[in-house]
Each structure stands twice: as structure tokens, then as C-alpha cells.
């Protein structure tokens, strides 16, 4: 992450960018690309708002990196709404996000795994598959790949699945 470029994009002084990096918990001296998900999304039903910090490449859509809202199952919205926010928005000073979001690539597709101490659809948090036909998902992945946020697991490893509820 190039701090000077980020500083310019955010229009901040040296002092302001140092403070901003510390407050947003992305690493003070060597900021790391990061994903976070909003606990309560606004603007419609069944939406999850994902923000990404990282300004490498050309697929970002925000000065700090990437942001978009995704249409999701209502169980995820309920689970997110019960979480205590731990991190600030990259677009404001509002604490409304949680971290622990990892994009993992399998032969069958990419998952978003939200690691959390509270069980969602899996004991370790929430496991989601990304709809590969969605243009917004494609945009997220293009940006995430540029910022080394998609981890390949290697050929032959099966995507984890969630047992169907009875």
C-alpha cells in the first residue's frame, strides 16, 4: 500500500493520514488491504454492505478502495444485525463494521468467510458462496485480486458446504 497515494486520494495532511490509518486499524506504517462488512446495511431489504481498503490496481470505486451493497439471504442480515460493530467505516467516522472477512478461491468458486466467535450458518461465523454471474461480484473480485485479498487453496480442495437444515 502506497501511503502517499492514499493520502492524496483522501485529501489529507501528513498528520491526518497518520491518525486516519491508526483509527481505522489498517496498520500505521505499512497499511494492509482489508475487507469489512457492515452490521446493518441501509438502502433496501436484504443487503450486505462490504467495504475494502486497498488502492492497488484500477478496479477500486472509492478513494480508499472498494465499496458496494450485495443482495443476500435474510438470515445473514439477521446475523449481522446481532453483531457488535468493531471497526469504523472507511467513508465516515461511524463504527458500524466487523472484520474477519476472507475471500477464498476453490475450483468451484469463491467463498466469503466471516470469521466470528458467534456461530452463523457455521460454527466459526458465516460462510457464503459468491454468485459468479453477478457483475458486482465480478467487480469485487477484480478489485480484491489486485489487492491480494483472494486466497487460492489449490487444486482439488473442495469448497466447504453447509448441511441443509431439516
Amino acid at each position: 500500500m502506497e501511503i502517499k497515494t492514499l493520502q492524496k486520494e483522501l485529501g489529507m495532511t501528513d498528520g491526518q493520514i497518520t491518525k486516519w490509518l491508526a483509527e481505522h486499524n489498517v496498520g500505521k506504517d505499512e497499511p494492509q488491504a482489508t475487507l469489512q462488512i457492515r452490521v446493518t446495511a441501509t438502502g433496501g431489504l436484504d443487503l450486505a454492505h462490504i467495504q475494502g481498503f486497498g488502492n492497488r490496481g484500477s478496479h477500486g470505486n472509492r478513494p480508499y478502495g472498494f465499496a458496494d451493497k450485495f443482495y443476500v439471504e435474510s438470515n445473514l442480515v439477521s446475523w449481522l444485525g446481532e453483531r457488535e460493530p468493531t471497526h469504523l467505516s472507511f467513508a465516515s467516522e461511524q463504527k458500524c463494521y466487523i472484520r474477519g472477512c476472507c475471500l477464498i478461491e476453490y475450483d468451484e468458486g469463491v467463498t466469503l468467510q466471516i470469521e466470528n466467535e458467534n456461530a452463523g450458518n457455521v460454527a466459526s461465523g458465516y460462510l457464503l458462496a459468491l454468485n459468479k454471474d453477478s457483475m458486482k461480484v465480478k467487480a469485487l473480485l477484480a478489485w480484491a485480486r489486485e489487492n491480494d485479498l483472494v486466497t487460492p487453496v489449490g487444486s482439488g480442495v473442495k469448497m466447504p458446504r453447509v448441511p441443509k437444515e431439516e
Binding site: 454468485n131 461480484v137 453447509v162
Partner: protein, 213 residues
């Protein structure tokens, strides 16, 4: 096939008048409208009962016709009637319609003047607004009619206000720029702006074979 949008909308209005059974408001719409009417009556009653002590409820109780028959009611109306009469929604939206709703049922009424057996429509079918400009919904109806092959003459015969033309031209330029930057067609960009019908992030269940496609 009609010669022009005006001819097409007029014909639709006449068809509506001849088919009152298709103008019955479905229970789903009637029920939420009646519920809002009853809430309005309850609020108005509260304001009347407390007005001699305080004016706390006066502003809220000053509701209007538009609070009951709001934009979403009209959108629901246009969706329902366009499906029943198999025409674009914009065609229905050009016709002067008013709802009559009661606890037992509801009906959309079409404003018209009768002339003998054939209803005469032109009086209440306003092409121009008070400033003399063509109503934008007429232009929308023209474009929708051409797209669905309902109108033979693709030339739009009226002038639109410059300020509205500038606004839509700017939106069109922005859309074309987006398409160029994203290396997509305009149709693909518009599709991406829609709320999708399938979840973009979803639980990968054990028996879900969609991931293997």
C-alpha cells in the same frame, strides 16, 4: 397498431371504460388502502379529542388524499392495470384515473365524457401541463409504444421542455461513459444496476449443485 401515442392511449381509455370488471381493485390493494384510511380516521379523531388541551397531534393529523393514495399506490395501480390490459405502464399512467375504495371493495374509475354509446376521452387526457409543455409521461408512453410495436409512426410529434431534455441527455451521456469505461454494453450496465433476482452472496448448501455449473 396505432398511428400515434395519443391515438393509442385514447383507445386504451375506451377499452377500459368498456371493461369495468377489469377495473376492480384487487383485495391486496384494497386492504392496505382501507387500513391507511382507518389509521387516518383514528389520527384525525385523536387530534379532535385532544385539541382543546394541546396541539401536539394537529400537524400529523393534517393528512391529505396524497397520504392515502401515495406514489406507491399509483405505482401498484399502473402495474396491475398494465398487466390486465396488456399495455405499457406508461400508457395507463397517462390516463386520468381515480380510486373509489370502501371496506367492501374498490374500483378504479376512468374520467371521461360520454357521447352516445361511445365514451369520449379527449377532455381529460392532458397532453400538455399548465405551462404548455408536453407531459414527460406522454413521451415515455411514446417510447414504450414504439418499443413494443404498438405505434407505427416513430416520430414524436410534441416538444419536450429543454431542461428535461438536457437532464435525460446528461444521464444518457453518463451511462454511455460508464459502459465505455467498463467495456460493457449500455444494456449490460443497466442490468448490473438492477436489484438481482438471485442472491449475490449465499450459503453453499451440501446439495446445491449450482456451484458446479
Amino acid at each position: 397498431m396505432h398511428n400515434s401515442v395519443v391515438e393509442g392511449i385514447d383507445a386504451l381509455a375506451v377499452t377500459m371504460l368498456k371493461n369495468p370488471d377489469k377495473l376492480i381493485i384487487p383485495d391486496r390493494i384494497k386492504d392496505y388502502t382501507v387500513a391507511k384510511i382507518k389509521l387516518g380516521e383514528s389520527l384525525f379523531n385523536l387530534a379532535k379529542q385532544t385539541g382543546h388541551k394541546h396541539a401536539g397531534w394537529i400537524d400529523l393529523a393534517g393528512g391529505s388524499y396524497g397520504d392515502i393514495y401515495d406514489n406507491l399506490f399509483w405505482y401498484d395501480t399502473f402495474v396491475t392495470l398494465s398487466e390486465r390490459f396488456d399495455v405499457p405502464m406508461s400508457w395507463v399512467a397517462c390516463i386520468d384515473i381515480y380510486p373509489v375504495v370502501g371496506s367492501l371493495g374498490g374500483q378504479w374509475a376512468v374520467l371521461h365524457e360520454s357521447e352516445g354509446e361511445v365514451p369520449k376521452m379527449f377532455k381529460n387526457f392532458n397532453i400538455f401541463d399548465k405551462e404548455g409543455n408536453c407531459r414527460e409521461m406522454i413521451y415515455a408512453a411514446h417510447l414504450d409504444g414504439v418499443e413494443r410495436g404498438l405505434i407505427s409512426n416513430i416520430h414524436f410529434p410534441f416538444d419536450r421542455p429543454d431542461v428535461i431534455k438536457d437532464w435525460t441527455n446528461e444521464a444518457n451521456n453518463h451511462l454511455e461513459t460508464m459502459a465505455e469505461v467498463l467495456d460493457k454494453s449500455v444494456e449490460e450496465v443497466l442490468e448490473s444496476l438492477k436489484k438481482p433476482t438471485e442472491h449475490e452472496l449465499y450459503t453453499p448448501y451440501e446439495d446445491d449443485d449450482s456451484l458446479n455449473k
